[in-house]
């Protein structure tokens, strides 16, 4: 290592922008999932997108959630409708699911970001 005077910029060195910090608040409980299907397109979530899911959050109406339905991770929006909770798609082609009618539904996590590539690059 060369000796000499310290650079005047040394005190101002920044570490750069880390997308993990931008997208993830609770690293130990945050997971990535891959979206398949078009039932959430009106929420801006498209087939093949990368989903950032935080399991530590309590799901609230209005949030996009990952629910366990029939042994699969299913993406829906949690909504309150006439005083009852239900799972809605963000695509009019898919009907909503009333939670009190489908027996065993578990909310696995809350989707907090979606990463969507804009066309093909590189």
């Amino acid at each position: 290592m060369a000796a000499g005077f310290p650079s005047p910029a040394d005190d101002y060195i920044d570490v750069g922008i880390d997308l993990n910090e931008v997208l993830i608040r609770h690293p130990s409980s945050t997971f990535f999932l891959r979206v398949s299907g078009d039932s959430m397109v009106e929420a801006g979530i498209q087939d093949g997108d990368l989903l950032v899911v935080d399991r530590s959050l309590e799901a609230r109406p209005g949030q996009v959630v990952v629910a366990v339905l029939d042994g699969a991770f299913t993406l829906k929006r949690l909504a309150r409708h006439r005083g009852r909770l239900r799972l809605e798609a963000a695509n009019s082609a898919y009907p909503p699911l009333e939670l009190h009618q489908c027996g065993d539904v578990q909310i696995w996590g809350v989707a907090i970001h979606v990463i969507h590539p804009l066309g093909r690059h590189g």
Partner: protein, 425 residues
């Protein structure tokens, strides 16, 4: 009030990880097999209830598993390792001090509040981990580590405790110590157990109350500490942070047995390559190297042999370690034996900075620098483009004996191509 010590561990950790990332497995019996799909190392509670035994060789119970519709998985260390780190860092904010003891258990110290009650703390921690990671845990609380381990067994053993047991709040420890056989105590080895049994000491209460002079004569300070811990006097401190490792081991079972010396050499060479990579990552060098191999304990004529060599100068250079290891293969190889497993143990590890220039060092400082740059570059390439991108010729090309993991799930939390699917349908 004195601090409380907790032993926190995951129930059926491997099986729980499998269930957490494959919702089709929720509520179904799942077993996870050891390396090379050898035997059952983890059972979901559903599999346990079916009476599937722990440690049973897979080939013996494959039919039973199929009959009960049990889901079988190979060990997915990428997933379990990542989930273990998540588990430990989730525990951290809940305790004053944490000692990660193994992949799925940790000791913790925390202050006991004025009213003494810690059940609500434990219940909250338990439901938080369950919610955030999908992993069930059990918590044992007591005044010492040995008793915390015992309390954890009680917490898991009886459903009525709902995964939490606080020995510190019990009016008397006696009934709990009496129901714990000596050999199930943490820190009691086979030898001490046999010695206790010969003296009619069968349970933890008897060990706690025996004459300490006699115990000291047999087991020294270690025995005295064990007795004090059983009396509720904490004398084993928590070890924070990973202590520098004193040895490192790479060993694997083969997918098929190996009878050929060249193939055994190639297998050992590939383990040396892995072990050397590990050392360089840990910034350590090794002063002694042991190579071992064995046949299957399930077939007749069991054979197991090891050979060891000291290195003239501690090293983490793959070429130097290979040079020491390969001649040892000839010493342990035996014709007509079908080897099922082999491994390499690197011992007498020391930090890189401790290395003193050897008077008879084979390389000059400058040559040494160049070697290190080369090895560093190889490690970088293998890390970036996948292990095996740059290979050592001694390992052979396209070996056919690599580990069998026929029912491996995906690296759901660590590999972009393996992410679980969120269905939008």
């Amino acid at each position: 009030m004195a601090d409380a010590l907790a032993l926190i561990d995951a129930n059926n950790f491997y099986a729980s990880c499998e269930q957490a990332f494959d919702p089709a497995l929720i509520g179904r019996p799942v077993v996870v097999l050891s390396n090379n799909d050898g035997c059952v190392v983890s059972r979901s509670s559903e599999a346990r209830r079916l009476g599937i035994g722990m440690g049973k060789p897979y080939f013996q119970i494959a039919e039973q598993l199929a009959r009960h519709g049990v889901v079988v998985r190979s060990s997915n260390y990428a997933l379990y390792g990542d989930m273990s780190q998540r588990l430990m860092s989730s525990l951290e904010p809940f305790v004053a001090e944490l000692e990660v003891y193994s992949i799925d258990e940790a000791f913790a110290r925390l202050p006991r509040p004025q009213h003494g009650e810690l059940r609500s703390w434990a219940t909250e921690l338990r439901s938080r981990i369950r919610h955030n990671l999908g992993i069930p845990i059990a918590i044992g609380l007591a005044p010492s580590k040995v008793l915390a381990k015992l309390a954890n067994r009680v917490a898991k053993g009886d459903r009525r405790h709902a995964g939490v047991f606080d020995l510190g709040l019990e009016p008397s420890h006696d009934p709990w110590l009496e129901q714990t056989p000596v050999e199930e105590l943490w820190g009691v080895g086979r030898q001490l157990n046999r010695w206790c049994r010969l003296r009619g000491i069968a349970n933890a209460r008897q060990l706690r109350d025996m004459a300490s002079g006699e115990l000291r004569a047999k087991a020294g300070v270690v025995g005295l500490r064990l007795q004090l811990e059983l009396q509720g006097v904490s004398c084993l401190p928590l070890e924070e942070g990973p202590s520098a490792k004193r040895e490192t081991c790479v060993s694997r079972s083969f997918s098929r047995t190996i009878a050929d010396e060249l193939e055994l050499r190639q297998a050992v060479a590939s383990y040396v390559v892995r072990a050397a990579e590990k050392l360089r990552r840990q910034r350590q060098r090794s002063g002694r190297l042991t190579v071992f191999a064995r046949t299957s304990p399930f077939s007749p004529g069991f054979y197991s042999q090891a050979a060891s060599a000291a290195l003239p100068l501690a090293s983490n250079d793959t070429a130097v370690l290979l040079q020491a290891a390969l001649p040892l293969v000839a010493l342990i190889y035996k014709p007509q034996k079908r080897f099922a497993k082999a491994g390499v143990l690197l011992q007498e590890l020391q930090g890189e900075e401790q290395l003193q220039q050897h008077l008879l060092a084979p390389l000059s400082d400058e040559q040494q620098q160049r070697r290190e740059t080369l090895l560093h570059n190889i490690d970088q390439l293998n890390r970036r483009y996948g292990s095996g991108t740059v290979q050592w010729a001694a390992c052979g090309l396209q070996p056919s004996w690599t580990m069998r993991r026929g029912q491996l799930s995906r690296a759901a939390t660590t590999r972009l191509g393996d992410l679980p699917t969120a269905w939008a349908r």
